[in-house]
Structures are given as C-alpha cells and as structure tokens.
Symmetry: C2
Subunit: 371 residues, 2 copies
C-alpha cells in the first residue's frame, strides 16, 4: 500500500561527503550550492514527479517559542505509527494514552478556570464544559464539540481538551460528547451518537444560536454531521469550525506526500491513520460521504472557518475542503499557521497561536450566531 | 550564505538499494515502510531540526489537469537560478525573458477579449487594461496592478499578464504600471513610481472605489504602498489583494525550507531571489518596512485577500502576512490552492484555479469597493 520512492538523487549527497558528514555544521559556500543546484536541475529537467534530496529542516524562528517547542518535538511514538494486532492491543494503547491525556486536562482546566461536568446527552456520554464567565453575548448560545483522534484515540475526558480551550478563549458553554469508537464500535456508531447529540441539542437551544466544531476526526465528523442533518431534514447550526478536518479517509491530497515525515504529529498516512481508517469504515467504502465528507455536496452548508498549519499532513485536506465549500457558495474562512503540524493549536494551551485560533473561531461564531 | 544540510539519514536510502534503484517502480511492501519507519523514528527521536529523506513526490491528482501540468513542469531554468555577473548580463536575460512573455500575452488578450493601451500615469509608463465588457457595478471602479518578477523581471508588456486576467475574470478596468527596476534603478525607484501612479490614480477615481493588487514582488509592493501612503498622508484604497507577497526579502519563513527544491517556480531562496534582493535594496537594510513590509505596522490597512498554494516557496510569507493583518484587526481572507507553487494561478490563463483565484478577488473587491 505504501509507496515511498527513494530515488537516485541520493547521489547528490554522495558527491558532497564533506557536507553529509558535517550534519552539525552550516556549510554554505556557493560551491556547495552549485553542486546541489546542478544535480537538482538535472533531476527535475523533465515534467513529472518532483525529486527532492534528504535534508534537515530547522525549527522556524517565525513561530512563537511555545509553538517552536511543539514543532521541534520528536515524532509522537507510538501515537503516529501504532499498529496493534488485536482489539485488546488497541484498547490497551488507547486507554493508556487517554489516561495520560485526561490527567493532564485537570491542571489545564484549573489554570483556565474551566469546569467539566459529566452528563448524558441524547443517550450519549458527554461533558458540559463551562468557562468561569460566559460572555454576555453567549448567554443563549451553545457549542457542540466533536473530539479528534482518528476514530480510535481520546475516549472520555481525554477528548475534552479542545472544548476547554474554546470555552476559555471564546467564553462559550460547550457540550463535548464521547462517541463510541472502534475496535468495538465501528462506523456508523460514532455518527449515530453524533446525530443523537445534535437532536438532543436542538431541544436545548435554537439552532441559529448553535455551532459545531472539532479538529481532525472531529472536523471530518462536523462536516459529515451537516450532510446527515440535511439528509434527515434536521435544522443546521449557524456556523461550523472544522479544524484540519479528516475529510477524506483515503490517502488523497498533496501534503500527504509533501509534508510526509516532516509533520511530527501524524508523520505519514502509512502510520496508524491507514489502520484506523479501515478499522472505522469496517468494510464500508472509504469514499462514502458519511465517512469521507469531501465526497459529499456542500451546497447550503453553514458558514465555516477552517484552521491548519504549513507543516500539517492535512493541509491539503483543509484547503481542498475550503475550496469545495467556496465553490458551493458557502462563506468559508481559512487560517493557516506558520510551521504548525496537525492540530498543534490544541497542544500547548497557552501558546499565542492557540489563543489566536480559538479567538478567531469565537469571532467567526459571534458574527454568525444569533443571540 | 546558503545552508543545505545533507544529513546522515542518507543511510536510509543505502539500506534500501532495491528501492533506491527502482525509481520507476512502486515498491510498497510493509517491510519497506517498516525500515523507513525505524530509521526515521531514530533520526527524529530528539527535539530539534526535522530529518527527512530524499524522495520523489508525485503530481497530485487533486489539482485540475491544467494546474497539474504547471506542477509537473521542470524547474524554470534560467529564471529561478539566474546569477548574472554584470548589469549587461542582467539586462540581456531580463529582456530575453520579457520578450517571450510579452509575445505570449498577445494571444491571451485576444482570446480573453482584453485590450491593452500604453499610456503614462503620473509620469510613469503604464498600460490601461480593459475587458470586453466592464461589469455595470464596476463602471466607477478602478484597479491598480503591480506586477511581479523579483524586482528585476517583467518590464513592459511582460508585466501585464495578471492585469489581463483580473480584467477578464473580474470585469474591471485596470492600470498596470511599468515601474523602474534594477540593475539601473534600485530602491526606491520602484516605490517612487508606485506612489506617483497612486497619486495620479487619486485624481482619476475616488479612493473608496479603487483597489491595489499584485503578486509576489507586486504583492510586497502593494503592502509597502499602503505603508507609504499612510506615511505620506494619502488616502488608501478600499481593498488590496497581495498575492503570495514577497513581504520579506530576507530568507525568513518555514516554507523557504520545507518547500525548497519541491517548489518548481522559485525553487530556492539561494537562486535569483537572493541576488535580486541585494540588487534591489542596493545597500539599504533588507528589513526596512518599505522593502520588507512585513516589518511594518499593518494597523488601519484596507481589507485584504491573500492567495498562495501548498507548494509555494512563499506560503509562509503569505500566512505570516495574513496573521499579522488579522492581529492588527484588519479584515483579511486567505485562499490556498492544492499543490500550487508560487504564483501559478497566473501561469495557465484558462486553468480553473486561475479563474477561481480572480473570481474570488473580484468578489472580495465587489464587497469592499464603493460604486
């Protein structure tokens, strides 16, 4: 399934032993560049795939120090390349990662003045996430949060981190729900839960005063929820914020290749993503719009704000989704952060880019939601 | 000056001779990936620069066939790596490229029903670019176009291609001006000409009915024109469209590295860009906001729409400019196209992405300009 072509451009390195051996140095003579230039020109003299040499890419000084720390971080092992051989192995991994994540949430909520209350919404386990102060204009507004994690990670409180950030930086009351996931509950369980929550939310607040948001799988599900709400004749929310959405579960999009192995969160589709996609779809067509909503019709979608980063493995998915929304005539904004990999605006709760992301989403919601 | 670090990850290739030698093949066994995975995990196990292997990156099927052709095209030689040793050599190259480009414009204008009339505006050579039909809502509107080309390329009619596209797809009357450039006329000649044109335009139309737009150097100059108009107490246009703007003439921004040698238009800062930057600045500080406007204060800027692509060497410059505008409270939209390198929305006049780019800019101008 996986194709990584390691090509003869390697000879460039072999003709530059002094440079290759001086990984810590900063060789910069024009002679070095001239050699590389000639080899690259020769390797890219015909139309077709682009040949690029192996290299070390520095952490950009143009991101905040906090985001720089996220960019510099090692690959997330075992998150990115997990390939459990059994349901039991999946559960062990999922629960281990979730426990660590949930534990970390406690201090973050305290510091941000956010409270979390377990509840059940539409028969689905959920959490009411509330900021210290609900902004006056948000008193009659309600947000529904769909957590990410490739349809396998982040059950329970582990999935609530983004809801906390939205509550804290936007001043909104948020419902974050704990949808069922593989290996026990493949598609359509997660979507069934999502729709049950949306139907229950419609009994709690007017749809014109509500928005749905989420990142990665949560962004893909946000889009799929609109497709399905339309299909089921349900009212739509006033706005959505699909963050770097997993809108296509097949390996489609240029940055799956261009940012492969550079992106330190997801790293490569050939990691857990490819396994999780199959586990979730459970034999269904990966291109079913309820699974990969980019294959659906976006006509009549609510206004949307999308977020990604220049190193995001899903940058292409984000911009393809943005363009498709725009071509369908939907008001859709795009924000892309320098150097950021997948969903890293959720990583450091105190990074300027994190505050900026949720402040922009809050502004967008404020513009589009009734009061 | 140039640093390309070719690092020990090369051993990954050397341990995979079958793959390395099979450049045309599509080896995909999980064993291949497991080897790569292990090597990459080891090379990226510590915080710091990211190590990526050499590889061949396919042309994405997610772009239109026309854009795919632009993405697949070989490096632009000698445009990207020109390094003339004298003013005479620069002029020979510039004029040769400009002649070819100007010749190509004739058929494009005919096909798109656009006329071009040489004129002088504010003492500066310019062209009035007019569509077959000016849209009714645009009768009292006027756009000012600033061409790109790294402050050296595209004198004369060669610089008018983007104005033709804006006129054709937006239904606007456009003034495109032929500012003085190095080697004969370094900074501030280009900006002096730009401001002379803007002052003259203020006598032709109300500023609230005007916009300024341009790509690359034209995008950077668009931003610098606003800084200088504010400094000189001149009225500002109602909107701007800096396309993938050269807003920083130093090598700053993550995609200068991440997209280096992948981007087939500019390829690398170490090509002509580094030489053109010095030639233009002519001893001035490259971080002077009138040369690199990203170092200026964007407060009070007109609404802006920015365009880039996922393979653009200037993707970082574009998103950094977008974020800085937003942080200054400016209404700013971003559109990023799948797989696109620098300014490729100007390359094939008939590509869907080209029409989409200028239709979006036209919509944005229509929203913000008076009538």
């Amino acid at each position: 399934m996986k194709i990584i072509r390691l090509v003869p451009v390697i000879v460039v390195a072999l003709t530059l032993p002094a440079v290759a051996q001086d990984a810590a140095g900063t060789r910069s003579t024009s002679g070095d560049f001239a050699t590389l230039e000639a080899a690259q020109n020769a390797a890219n003299a015909k139309a077709g795939p682009r040949t690029v040499p192996g290299r070390a890419i520095p952490v950009p000084a143009t991101a905040s120090p906090q985001l720089q720390a996220s960019i510099a971080a090692p690959y997330r092992v075992p998150n990115w390349n997990a390939n459990p051989r059994s349901a039991a192995e999946w559960k062990e991994l999922i629960n281990r990662l979730a426990a660590a994540s949930a534990a970390a949430q406690i201090g973050i909520r305290e510091k941000l003045g956010v409270t979390l209350e377990p509840t059940v919404v539409g028969g689905v386990k959920a959490f009411i996430v509330t900021p210290k102060e609900i902004a006056p204009e948000n008193r009659n507004r309600l947000l529904v949060h769909v957590h990410g994690g490739g349809y396998v990670y982040n059950p329970g409180e582990a999935g609530t981190g983004e809801a906390t950030l939205m509550a804290a930086y936007g001043g909104f009351k948020v419902i974050s729900f704990d949808y069922r996931m593989p290996p026990d509950h493949p598609y359509p369980a997660a979507m069934d839960d999502a729709m049950a929550v949306w139907k229950a939310a419609l009994g709690m607040q007017q749809p014109r005063n509500m928005a749905i948001f989420g990142t990665s799988t949560g962004g893909g599900m946000t889009l799929a929820m609109i497709l399905r709400a339309r299909q089921e004749g349900l009212p739509l929310p006033a706005a959505i914020a699909p963050g770097t959405p997993w809108s296509d579960l097949t390996e489609t999009g240029d940055t799956y290749k261009t940012n492969e192995l550079l992106a330190n969160v997801l790293v490569s589709y050939s990691g857990y993503l490819s396994h999780a996609a199959k586990l979730y779809a459970n034999g269904h067509d990966l291109k079913d719009p309820m699974i990969s909503p980019i294959y659906g019709d976006f006509t009549g979608f609510p206004p949307a704000i999308l977020t990604s980063g220049t190193r995001d493995l899903f940058l292409s998915l984000t911009v393809l989704t943005h363009r498709k929304l725009r071509r369908a005539g939907v008001e859709a904004e795009l924000q892309v952060f320098e150097g950021m990999s997948h969903a890293q605006y959720n990583f450091d709760p105190y990074a300027p880019e994190t505050k900026e992301t949720f402040s922009e989403i809050a502004r967008f919601f404020d513009k589009h939601l009734g009061k």
